[in-house]
């Protein structure tokens, strides 16, 4: 069994099925990517996987355990780390403290005993782990800066560092590349390669196709809440259903995938390249 096994997960916002019957898996040491237009249900699926939302149907197994009904913090302790598309940084803490709190929660310790003790020095192994992670992300220079003062790109790295400090077995990254400049993206790619190399499973939602195609082992394409294509990056890039989802109605007749929903979506042309 894979590290993460998702079976037929469905989530409805009222009458709207944001995620319908999605099944996928993630393996240790592999990158599984989830692509698809905005509104396809990727973040909702992430929230179901990490427990912020309870799916209406389907089951989720993680590390051999059925985690479908578990609270988010329990899943986090089992080894699910995540980052957020809309940044959720502890803005009134320093970068170091952002990572430190994550590292501490992941380690056993008598927290309430601190209430009655006179001294509470920082734990050396926590500090070491945090310093190491900061160095890995190239964030050492920002160690003592209040997180609220950093740019979006740096905050994405801080979130990644925070997730890494929880010593995850599975890392769920929700658009870690958005808002990053090209140097920062390269750095992200390096860190991800590093992380995967150490045996962590990565589930990635990302719009930066170069990044996705470059590092993924498996790519799932989501549209209208369902997975419409899966495979290696090369296979997915060639799949007609993907072509239809991304390129619009003109190609819809050519597609053979039964799951392809209609109507097609309009994509406004953008000035961005």
């Amino acid at each position: 069994m894979s590290l993460l096994e998702v079976k037929d997960v469905t989530f409805r916002f009222g009458g709207l099925a944001a995620v319908r019957g999605v099944s996928l898996s993630a393996e240790a040491g592999r990158v599984t990517s989830l692509i698809g237009p905005n509104g396809a249900g990727k973040t909702t699926l992430f929230n179901c996987l990490t427990g912020l939302l309870r799916p209406n149907a389907g089951r989720i197994w993680f590390d051999g355990r059925d985690v479908t009904g578990m609270d988010p913090h329990v899943r986090a302790r089992l080894g699910m780390g995540r980052t957020f598309q809309r940044l959720e940084v502890f803005t009134n803490m320093t970068v170091f403290q952002n990572l430190q709190v994550a590292a501490e929660v992941a380690r056993p310790g008598r927290i309430l005993r601190g209430v009655f003790s006179l001294r509470q020095p920082d734990e050396p192994d926590v500090v070491g782990a945090v310093e190491e992670t900061l160095a890995r992300l190239g964030l050492g220079w920002a160690r003592d800066m209040p997180a609220g003062e950093l740019s979006t790109g740096l905050l994405r790295l801080v979130e990644l560092g925070r997730a890494l400090c929880t010593r995850p077995k599975l890392l769920l990254l929700d658009e870690p590349g958005s808002g990053l400049d090209s140097n920062e993206t390269e750095e992200l790619r390096r860190v991800l390669g590093d992380v995967v190399g150490s045996g962590v499973a990565v589930l990635l939602v990302e719009h930066d196709m170069e990044l996705v195609m470059g590092i993924s082992d498996t790519v799932h394409v989501m549209d209208f809440g369902s997975i419409i294509a899966s495979g290696t990056p090369a296979e997915v890039a060639a799949a007609p259903a993907v072509r239809a989802a991304y390129l619009g109605t003109a190609d819809a007749e050519e597609t053979t995938a039964p799951a392809t929903p209609t109507p097609r979506r309009r994509h406004a042309p953008s000035a961005r390249t």
Binding site: D144, M145, E149, I215
Partner: protein, 707 residues
């Protein structure tokens, strides 16, 4: 015959209840309108209502202005005018500097206390029975023995007309559309040439106009006094508004009428005999029914807060600035200036009893007891970002339990205090548990309602407290009496030291960082494995315990438990406001707050004045650098909350023109080639499309071509 009579009695009660309920409906709609239009929960609604009722009383009953003139002045000029003033001088500046939801809540609480203080200062707390009627209460017969007063009929008609007009305004008119646009996206609506300030001003004028009308209508039904009438309007209004989820006017109208009818029926419902069964219920059931009738709106408010899902506040719940403790989870070494100041404060506290005479040492003792309650407010609001308006309730429960245990059961006073603290802790858990997923305003309302219920059901209840007070002894330790004024002062000082130490430990180390993380982002805190429920309950109970110790000391100081010390509006809200003014973000704030609070009450004896002073400070201080007295002092003496090394790092980074040292890191990075994929034409197009959608960070609504 008997049945017919009974039937018409119930009908009569329903009619009377509906008339009273129409007023509550009006009140609820007033709050909902302002909230929908400005995003501010008009906490001051009850105070505005009673103030306008006072104005009409002053004009008509004192100055003999005919009611036909006095009523339009009060309802059409004073109420809306007050709304315009509030918008212009309080809420527009807040809007301009992008104040957080919490700061706005503080501001409306400030307005509430300001108006309360003014009413006390001008009209004193004396109860007036001759609030003028707008319409005579001559009864009209509706047939089959059911009567309705002309005044009641007028109320129902007026409220019905207003509801329809409001509904039409939101649905059909230009201003209604503008209102909705402004609430949705203030900046964008301004781009669309909507004058957001004008729209807000309109909404405030409307809301306060409603409040005035509410007050004028409700005052003749009860007595006119600044305390009980305000309390009544506050809770009726809040319960109606919350049941309407702060959004729905029709639900607000229906809830108001429903509440009125229900409480009217309850007044005449005799629970001793179950209808149709005829057996007698035990007295405590009767008693509970009586209590339910008197506290119906608070109970409804509590239930609505606990039960209703998706009761969301707009806006950011979490601002920076004065409401937040910036130094959480950091080291504990004090830098020099604060250390010197703290040392001086300790010396002053030790020396104080020798400077005070026998008459004034009581004030010093009160100060220390209040200080402990203030520490509890810093812990829960400053450290954790939860707005608790019910700390006086926790303090009171503890004082009551301690006094009861010591006096009736002869428990030694020191242990009685601890029992009281534990009781407060239990109440803290009871308050915190049902609202684990609430923050900000709704949590504030929850704690306020708990404070009111403990006041009504325990502190001032004849069955529980008896004559209204319980004697309380001062403690003795190891056979040594601490009843003397100096001895008791130092006994309190020891407790202050213990509680300050406890509070300091809460913000340090692992625990402090966990609490700070929860405060900044609950979602992220859960994602790294923090059990929100556990820590929320923990901090609620610890804070209640600290407040409880303070409350027990207050009772010991006075050698008396009296519920009046712990009332849910004037005391509890004022305490909260004092700490916010002094600096809820730091323990120094609690000390400064306690000193100022007691000094002011010693210097100025007239009631209402300290409310006014602290309210004005609360309204003004947010715009000063630092956002509180302690913050301003820090700013003045340049005591940086951010540690020096961080400032140096930032300065260095700025000098280097960007993050230093990162270029080399990138230079040696091994790019891991995984899939050799030549970018096909499709991949290129995928990239450009994805790039396009990545740009708007996913916040855009789902766009679909329909059809």
């Amino acid at each position: 015959m008997v049945l017919a009579f009974a039937g018409s009695l119930w009908l009569q009660l329903i009619v009377a209840g509906a008339a009273a309920g129409a007023i509550y409906a009006l009140a609820g709609m007033g709050v909902v309108v302002t909230y929908r239009a400005t995003g501010v929960f008009n906490f001051a609604y009850g105070a505005v209502a009673v103030l306008v009722a006072y104005v009409i009383w002053q004009l008509n009953a004192q100055w003999h202005v005919p009611i036909g003139l006095a009523a339009p002045i009060a309802v059409l000029v004073v109420g809306p005018g007050l709304g315009l003033l509030l918008e212009r001088f309080v809420f527009r500046p807040l809007e301009r500097r992008g104040a957080s939801q919490a700061e706005r809540l503080v501001a409306v609480i400030g307005v509430f206390l300001l108006l309360e203080g003014l009413m006390y200062a001008i009209w004193t707390g004396q109860v007036r029975e001759n609030a003028p009627d707008l319409v005579s209460n001559h009864a009209l017969d509706l047939g089959s023995g059911v009567r309705i007063g002309e005044d009641q009929l007028t109320v129902v008609l007026v409220v019905a007309v207003i509801s329809v007009l409001l509904w039409l305004m939101f649905r059909r008119s230009r201003i209604g559309l503008d209102l909705r646009a402004v609430v949705d996206r203030r900046e964008l609506s301004q781009l669309a040439a909507i004058d957001a300030n004008r729209v807000s001003a309109f909404a405030w004028a409307l809301g306060c106009g409603f409040a005035g009308l509410t007050g004028v209508l409700v005052a003749p039904l009860f007595y006119l006094d600044p305390y009980h009438l305000t309390l009544l309007v506050v809770f009726e209004t809040f319960s109606v508004a919350v049941v309407a989820r702060l959004a729905s006017l029709p639900v607000a109208a229906a809830t108001g009428v429903g509440l009125g009818v229900a409480s009217s029926l309850l007044t005449h419902f005799d629970p001793r005999v179950v209808p149709g069964f005829g057996f007698h219920l035990p007295t405590w059931v009767t008693y509970l029914f009586g209590q339910l009738e008197q506290n119906l709106s608070a109970v409804v408010l509590l239930v609505a807060l606990v039960v209703l899902r998706r009761l969301d506040e707009g806006g950011s719940t979490n601002g920076r600035g004065g409401l937040i403790s910036a130094g959480m989870g950091g080291g504990t070494r004090l830098r020099r200036t604060p250390a010197v100041l703290a040392g001086l404060a300790v010396l002053a506290a030790l020396a104080l009893p020798w400077a005070l005479g026998t008459a004034t040492i009581g004030d010093g003792q009160t100060m220390l007891a209040v200080l402990i309650v203030f520490i509890s407010i810093v812990c829960i609001t400053g450290f954790c970002g939860y707005i608790s308006l019910g700390q006086a309730g926790f303090a009171g429960v503890s004082a009551f339990v301690a006094a009861d245990a010591a006096t009736k059961f002869h428990v030694p006073v020191v242990f009685a205090m601890l029992l009281g603290g534990l009781a407060a802790m239990v109440m803290g858990l009871l308050t915190g548990y049902p609202v684990l997923n609430r923050r900000g305003l709704l949590l504030g309302l929850m704690t306020l309602a708990m404070g009111l219920l403990s006041y009504n059901l325990i502190f001032t209840d004849n069955l529980v407290v008896g004559s209204g007070t319980i004697a309380m002894a001062r403690p003795s330790l190891f056979g040594l009496s601490l009843a003397g004024d100096h001895a008791f002062y130092y006994f309190e000082l020891v407790w202050v030291g213990l509680m300050l130490g406890l509070a300091r430990n809460l913000r340090r180390g692992r625990l402090g960082r966990i609490l700070a993380a929860m405060r900044d982002s609950e979602t992220a805190a859960r994602s790294i494995g923090i059990d929100l429920r556990r820590y929320k309950l923990f901090i609620f109970s610890i804070s209640a315990f600290i407040a409880g110790i303070g409350g027990a000391l207050l009772a010991e100081q006075a050698q008396l438990f009296s519920g009046l010390y712990f009332d849910p509006l004037n005391t509890s809200l004022l305490w909260f406001l004092v700490v916010v003014v002094a600096g809820v973000g730091s323990l120094a704030g609690s000390v400064v707050g306690a000193v100022l609070f007691v000094m002011l009450s010693v210097v100025v004896k007239q009631s209402g004045v300290s409310d006014i002073v602290f309210a004005i400070l609360a309204l003004a201080i947010g715009s000063l650098p630092g956002g509180s007295l302690v913050g301003v002092a820090r700013h003045f003496w340049r005591i940086d909350v951010v540690p020096k090394p961080a400032l140096r790092a930032m300065a260095a980074a700025q000098r280097a023109g960007g993050p230093g040292g990162r270029r080399e890191a990138i230079g040696r990075m091994p790019v891991r080639p995984r899939v050799g994929l030549a970018p096909s034409a499709l991949a290129t197009r995928l990239m450009s499309r994805a790039g396009a959608s990545a740009g708007d960070a996913g916040r855009a609504p789902r766009e679909r071509v329909s059809g």
